[in-house]
């Protein structure tokens, strides 16, 4: 059985999206900047996609700038505000559990003399609007806080934070890459000035995203060249990709409630099944303020990559908080910020669903994970079958 449970990393593209994109490779291939009808057909396709993205967010089409993905949108928002407002102030507020696309952009700014407040989160991964309010200084120019966390699925109180920023006249950006198409968003009601999204997290194509930029925000260009994308993001547009994003976001928002219900039920079955069948497992993230598709558990005494490999051998695709691939030995900054010990963080597994998953897959995954845990624990020098308490020596192995 092949079970894909890594939908927070990326999703399978929907067949309907592919169908919508197909004509824009070899048939409708004009450059949208061209005067002739080949070009105008492509331009019309961009317009349709822009309207669809705008509708999904409660924005206007002229407020949507297509980008080469979520990371680019995050960079454009943060570095753009910094460039534009540096004379006004050099302080930025964010959280400790942002995606690297936000954190590394902030770190670059720190090197250039900006100061960044990384708000701590509670054990569930939450920040509060009053934390934000208290962190605001005279020279604060930007608050950037993710809509929902990609590792543990915690949903932040975005409306409340938006209200605080609005009241204080500070620009508010949210990295909504994990939220768009999964939970309802309204940029106007929620006082969001800038929002990043990415197509491949909602059954759209990889390498295309968008930045919502509220009218009047008027950030500087982030790629220089032609007049594309309201002169903000030069370069011939990824027409097929943008068409795909438009279709994917339309489909996702059309069935947002239905999908959330289906995923939440599967998610809870998966969580319950794991917690019931495997001893000494801890759920990471918030029990209820959590993305419908996110499960993140720490399995004590064993290490994440080993679990992933074993799952993979059994046909299950998952992800872990053990950052093995990047060459770093440190576990996920998100899990550490939630207060997990290094050891526990290393043993975390993320299983993220989509509406394409089935209950059969969920049950198979619970069973497989149980077997794998037994095998790996038998091999683990940390595991002592008589030890029972999970949190007791939570921190003993860190140094």
């Amino acid at each position: 059985m092949k079970v894909y449970l890594d939908n927070a990393a990326t999703t399978a593209m929907s067949k309907e999206v592919l169908e919508e994109m197909l004509p824009f490779f070899s048939e409708v291939y004009g450059n949208p900047s061209s005067v002739h009808s080949f070009g105008q057909a492509s331009k019309n396709a961009l317009d349709t996609a822009r309207a669809r993205v705008a509708t999904a967010l409660g924005a206007k089409p002229s407020e949507i700038i297509f980008t080469g993905g979520g990371t680019e949108a995050d960079n454009a928002a943060i570095l753009g505000v910094a460039q534009k407002l540096q004379k006004k102030g050099k302080h930025i507020i964010t959280t400790a559990i942002e995606h690297h696309a936000v954190l590394h952009a902030c770190e670059k700014l720190e090197k250039e003399g900006f100061t960044v407040t990384y708000l701590p989160v509670d054990e569930f991964g939450l920040v509060t609007a009053s934390q934000v309010e208290q962190a605001i200084k005279d020279d604060t120019i930007l608050v950037t806080i993710m809509y929902a966390n990609n590792e543990v699925g915690t949903i932040m109180p975005i409306s409340e934070i938006g209200a605080v920023c609005n009241a204080r006249g500070i620009l508010f950006h949210t990295d909504a890459v994990q939220a768009v198409g999964h939970i309802h968003i309204d940029v106007v009601e929620q006082n969001i000035d800038l929002l990043s999204l990415s197509a491949h997290k909602l059954h759209g194509p990889k390498g295309v995203g968008a930045l919502y930029m509220k009218k009047g925000t008027n950030l500087p260009p982030f790629i220089y060249g032609g007049a594309q994308e309201f002169k903000r993001r030069a370069g011939t547009e990824n027409v097929a990709g943008i068409v795909g994003l438009g279709k994917a976001i339309e489909l996702a928002t059309a069935s947002i409630d239905e999908n959330a219900k289906k995923q939440t039920a599967m998610r809870d079955r998966l969580i319950d099944g794991i917690l019931k069948n495997i001893p000494e497992v801890k759920l990471n993230g918030h029990p209820t303020k959590r993305l419908p598709n996110n499960v993140n558990v720490s399995i004590k005494y064993i290490e994440g990559e080993s679990i992933l490999l074993m799952l993979d051998i059994n046909g299950i695709a998952a992800s872990s908080g053990s950052a093995c691939t990047s060459g770093s030995l440190d576990p996920s900054h998100v899990l550490l910020a939630l207060g997990l010990s290094h050891e526990t963080a290393h043993g975390s597994v993320r299983l993220t669903l989509s509406e394409y998953n089935t209950y059969e897959e969920i049950d198979y995954t619970i069973k497989t994970l149980e077997t794998i845990t037994q095998r790996l624990r038998a091999m683990s020098p940390l595991y002592n079958p008589t030890t029972k308490s999970f949190s007791k020596d939570e921190n003993t192995h860190s140094h």
């Binding site: 005494y301 064993i302 290490e303 994440g304 990559e305 080993s306 490999l309 051998i313 053990s322 093995c324 691939t325 990047s326 060459g327 030995l329 576990p331 010990s341 290094h342 050891e343 290393h346 038998a378 091999m379 683990s380 020098p381 940390l382 192995h397 860190s398 140094h399």
Partner: protein, 126 residues
């Protein structure tokens, strides 16, 4: 992870897993913070030959595979021969490791050395 077939084989079917009841040398390296702990058990006979060996490992696929391979490479060897085991020999025997994983082979080499050291120390103490 783009692991070699050999690594995946040793990960899936690790040789010599577990605690050796009658071990007379035990070495442990690494720590949970870095995500890798290896424990090596050896039983050295009177001729100085490693008669039996086993390991326990908390760590990634490469950590498990290098431990497993290391046990195979020193089993039946004299402790002097075993002391010559290098991490690159382990990497080679595994048909390579991704660059980010080479440190695991260093741990395996160290675990073997610590186990032998422990054996020697215990012997002296006798």
């Amino acid at each position: 992870m783009s692991y070699s077939k050999k690594v995946l084989d040793h990960f899936q079917c690790p040789r010599n897993v577990g605690e050796l009841e009658d071990a007379n040398g035990i070495g442990m390296v690494g720590n949970a913070k870095c995500g890798d702990i290896m424990q090596m058990f050896i039983k050295v006979n009177d001729d100085g030959i490693i008669e039996d060996v086993s390991f326990k490992t908390f760590g990634c696929g490469a950590a498990v595979a290098t431990s497993s391979m290391a046990t195979e490479m020193i089993k039946g060897k004299t402790i002097d021969e075993a002391l010559k085991l290098t991490n690159s020999a382990v990497v080679e025997a595994l048909e390579g490791l991704p660059p980010a994983k080479v440190h695991c082979s260093v741990l395996a080499e160290e675990a073997v050395k610590l186990a032998i050291e422990d054996y020697k120390k215990k012997k002296e103490e006798l």
